[in-house]
């Protein structure tokens, strides 16, 4: 959930920036707010790299390095 969700939100924020052009590039605009906060998702609360590790070990039962 966290892995896919946070990456989806980042892609969505980028597309919104592209669609809104200079309006989204302004400080204080909604697209700018979302885009500037989007990178926090994949890092915070156990980064997506950690989520991938958990999936590899728990869901796929892959061996340790």
């Amino acid at each position: 959930m966290k892995l896919v969700g946070t990456e989806f939100i980042r892609t969505q924020a980028e597309l919104t920036m592209s669609l809104t052009g200079v309006d989204g590039l302004m400080w204080g605009s909604d697209p700018a707010f979302d885009w500037l906060h989007a990178p926090i998702g994949p890092i915070g609360g156990g980064s997506n790299e950690i989520q991938l590790n958990i999936l590899a070990k728990r869901a796929l039962d892959l061996p340790e390095a």
């Binding site: 980042r10 980028e14 920036m17 592209s18 669609l19 809104t20 052009g21 200079v22 309006d23 989204g24 590039l25 302004m26 400080w27 204080g28 700018a32 885009w35 500037l36 990178p39 926090i40 994949p42 890092i43 915070g44 980064s47 997506n48 790299e49 991938l52």
Partner: protein, 369 residues
């Protein structure tokens, strides 16, 4: 021309890099941003670049320039990207391009010398659409009367002169307008990259016939050429930004420890870094190819310009996202410079058309879609 730099070009890069390292390191831009200076550029730096011949090196000798070619200009733009140098370099290149071939020689000379700033007022909507021009120029006695609103005029807040595209009875035309002319209203924009830009409204601005650049109705070719040059130079700045962010990320991977190992020792991160390296090397080749095309008047220049802007906008976005992710929590803080590169890349990737715009344009040019 080969896709490696000549000895002369390498010397140029060294000279520009040395000047910028001294006069415009990244903390200088950060200080400018934090100062709230409404000009949002560094006049001392711009003067020094002009004196050194780095402000518009591409202008041919026949037009009073140095004749160093577009490749020289692109290499300078790349170095400026690496340090986020705040200067009206791109707006100067756009304006100069419109005035080559003898039109407005009296404006071109001080522009090349760095004595005046000229901004180009082209787009009217939030997204790039250079051929939809609602701004009208009506005949008025011997001259013209212009009305319309332009969006995102880069360096519009510091320009002495504006060059505005408007539709006349003939077709698309270009006019030179003093920024303090009656009826010109300039509204500064607070953009994410912290650089100068404004929306500009022209309300019944009266101009003499000498304000026309070239001939009325004949601006389309001039604008198209300007956009080719502008997009290639922006691609070069994106290359510099991306390379710098990548280099800083690699340095971070080598130094940062987690789980009592340096994070650069994790194979998952090594592979991601190696992929970015490949993308960046390819993008560098595309940018240089487009610069050589401008210098050699290659018939494929327009498509190479779109290709360069599309590739660099996307490579910059993907690399900057990875740079932030690999830096982790510290990557999203204002304290770290990565965020400044991230915002600048987004802003200039969007200016004169982003990767979506240029991919669509390429499809039209190459396959007639």
């Amino acid at each position: 021309m080969t896709l490696v730099l000549t000895e002369e070009e390498i010397l140029l890069v060294d000279a520009v890099r040395a000047l910028l390292a001294r006069a415009a390191p990244v903390p200088k831009f950060r200080a400018l941003r934090d100062s709230g200076d409404p000009r949002r550029y560094d006049p001392d730096l711009w003067r020094e670049l002009a004196v050194s011949g780095f402000s518009a090196p591409q202008i041919p000798e026949s037009a009073g320039g140095l004749g160093m070619g577009y490749t020289a200009a692109g290499l300078i733009a790349e170095e400026m990207g690496r340090v986020l140098a705040a200067s009206p370099f791109h707006s100067t290149a756009l304006a100069a391009e419109l005035m080559l071939d003898g039109a407005k020689a009296d404006t071109l000379a001080p522009l090349i010398a760095g004595d005046i700033i000229v901004a180009v007022a082209l787009d009217e909507g939030a997204r790039h659409a250079p051929t939809s021009i609602a701004t009208r120029a009506e005949r008025d006695g011997g001259g013209f009367r212009i009305s319309g609103t332009k969006r995102r005029v880069v360096d519009g807040g510091i320009a002495d002169t504006l060059i505005v595209s408007a539709t006349t009875a003939e077709d698309a035309s270009l006019f030179q307008v003093p920024s303090d002319a009656p009826g010109v209203e300039i509204r500064p924009l607070d953009l994410l990259d912290g650089r100068n830009a404004a929306d500009v409204t022209f309300d019944n601005v009266v101009l003499g016939s000498e304000a026309v650049i070239g001939a009325p109705g004949e601006a389309a070719g001039r604008i198209a050429r300007m956009l080719d040059v502008g997009n290639v130079l922006l691609a070069c700045e994106l290359l510099g930004i991306t390379q710098e962010a990548f280099d800083r990320t690699i340095a971070f991977l080598k130094e940062r420890e987690q789980f009592s190992r340096r994070i650069g020792s994790f194979q998952a991160l090594q592979h991601r870094a190696a992929r970015l390296f490949c993308a960046l090397e390819l993008a560098r080749g595309v940018a240089l190819k487009a610069l050589r095309a401008l210098d050699e008047a290659d018939p494929a220049t327009t498509q190479l310009a779109s290709l360069a802007k599309a590739v660099l906008t996307r490579t910059a976005r993907e690399t900057l996202n990875e740079a932030i992710q690999m830096h982790g929590g510290i990557g999203v803080t204002d304290e770290l410079d990565i965020g400044l590169f991230f915002k600048r890349a987004r802003a200039i990737g969007d200016w004169l058309g982003d990767d979506y715009y240029h991919r669509e344009r390429l499809a039209k040019i190459v396959w007639g879609m």
